[in-house]
Amino acid sequence: MKTALITFGFALGAMTGAALAQDVPFSGYVSLGAVQSTNDNYEFETNYNPWRGLDFGAAVSFDMSGGKSIDLELRNFSQGDAYYSGYYVTSGQLATAGYNVNNGALGYGGFAGLYVSKDYYEEGADNNLILGGKLSYAMADKVSLFAQVGDCRKLQAIMIWVG
């Protein structure tokens, strides 16, 4: 996954340079942020505070004819408890591909991808299939509305079911 992230990052970097230099049929973003989170849990009646981590996101959308576009999105985040550093760690990666149709102000589409997550207490990672649809509407270049619905389930469970 790290290799894929680095490769994807270099590819996006190259595309970013090209896109800034000339008019190209694709667009996207790269983002990097710091996250702090808290989670109240009943088990020990305590508050694991704070969890800190990084959030990396990148996406590219390729324009096609007829207002259609294909996009790829990648996100990665990690959170770890400051006190139990290296023990209470949750991390996740999301990679999705989407298909979109833009008809004036209205846009709709779907996405499918892989959501991998790992918690401190488990061996190995959970691989989850994520599927969904999205709908967007823009008004007067000022206001935009967006909605999505989706399903996320363990890939292992699906493989067993199919097998």
């Binding site: 896109a19 667009s27 996207g28 808290t38 996320c152 363990k154």
Partner: protein, 112 residues
Amino acid sequence: MGRVNFGTVSASYQVSDALRLAASLGAIGGKVGDDTGETATARAYSLEASYRVSGPVKVYANVNCYNTGDADWGNGRTIGLGLKVNFGGKSMANGKVADLDALSNMRWGGDW
């Protein structure tokens, strides 16, 4: 996490050329206990402000909350600060596919 369904609605408003505000409301629910088969639902709320610093470079700040309404499954909050660079001249507003923090928190809280 066994299987969860999620849905979000969000709205954004371009206050000025530089400033943009967005708010989201979501719901997540499903089977969260792999061994126990327990289920839980959560509501998620997000607010985000982004400010265009220069050209395609933006800074953003957001706060995400999720609440199960059930002491057994807990509540969570996340604040984030970051940098975002758009390229290609077209903004991919609201492109976030799923609330990873909320999905993760559901998993974390539910797998004991």
